[in-house]
């Protein structure tokens, strides 16, 4: 089981702030493929990988990263703090 967490317009478009899923994916990229096959909301949100970022266990990382030790995978647009 891994927790998926969504922020900003990604949260709004997917329609929930988080969900727990079972997955056979071993990388973020594979996980995204799985999600995009599942529902059109995911395929719309995750179609363009330039538009969002990923953090595993609260650390920024990239789409090639392994999720084998992931408790929490978060997807969000580029940050706008400050």
């Amino acid at each position: 089981m891994v927790d998926l967490i969504y922020f900003s317009w990604i949260r709004e478009k997917i329609g929930k702030p988080s969900e727990s899923i079972e997955t056979n994916a071993t990388t973020v990229a594979e996980l995204l493929e799985e999600l995009m096959k599942k529902d059109i909301r995911y395929s719309e949100v995750f179609a363009d990988q330039d538009l969002f970022r990923v953090a595993i266990n609260q650390e920024l990382t990239n789409f090639d990263a392994s999720i084998l030790n992931a408790k929490e995978v978060a997807f969000f647009p580029p940050m706008t703090g400050g």
Binding site: F7, S8, Q58, M79, G82
Partner: protein, 150 residues
């Protein structure tokens, strides 16, 4: 080091006073305060900031640790708000204290540039009742390059 991620509005002059009281043998103190622009009557109704609890605090703490390693700074403070913010209210502040002015300025600008693009905050503006997520700018991303040229 003082890090606070909070919903409550803060009084930056009081925060500066408290921060400065703990300093010792410091020659230079730099502060930056970000304020919600726009008069309520004119354009912006309010701003809403979403964040990633836990990751936010960790990211900010590691940004400060990097700044301490890189510049000779004695102390640093970061306060960043989330939730609903009214025009004219402070959004966030950074303070750095060092022996010399150059270090204090550079560390403060470094923290600002990283907070803008690497701390997990997302701003939404509500203008005349219409919600809009603020886009990250290319300039803010490019600002980080300055700190990688060493």
């Amino acid at each position: 080091m003082y890090v606070s991620v909070q919903n409550e509005v803060f009084d930056f002059s009081k925060e500066i006073e408290q921060f400065s009281k703990k300093l010792n043998n410091v020659g230079a103190l730099v502060t930056f305060t970000g304020i919600v622009r726009g008069k309520k009557s004119e354009t912006l109704d309010f701003m809403f900031i979403e964040h990633y609890p836990g990751m936010t605090e960790n990211q900010i703490t590691s940004m400060i640790n990097n700044a301490v390693k890189r510049w000779n700074i004695n102390d640093a403070l970061v306060i960043h708000r989330y939730g609903k913010l009214e025009p004219g209210e402070p959004i966030m502040m950074v303070a750095t204290a060092a022996e010399h002015r150059r270090e204090a300025f550079e560390a403060a600008e470094y923290l600002m540039d990283y907070l803008k693009s690497r701390a997990p905050f997302w701003k939404k503006e509500v203008i005349n009742g219409k919600e809009k997520w603020v886009d990250a700018t290319v300039d803010d991303e490019l600002a980080l390059d300055r700190w990688n040229k060493f």
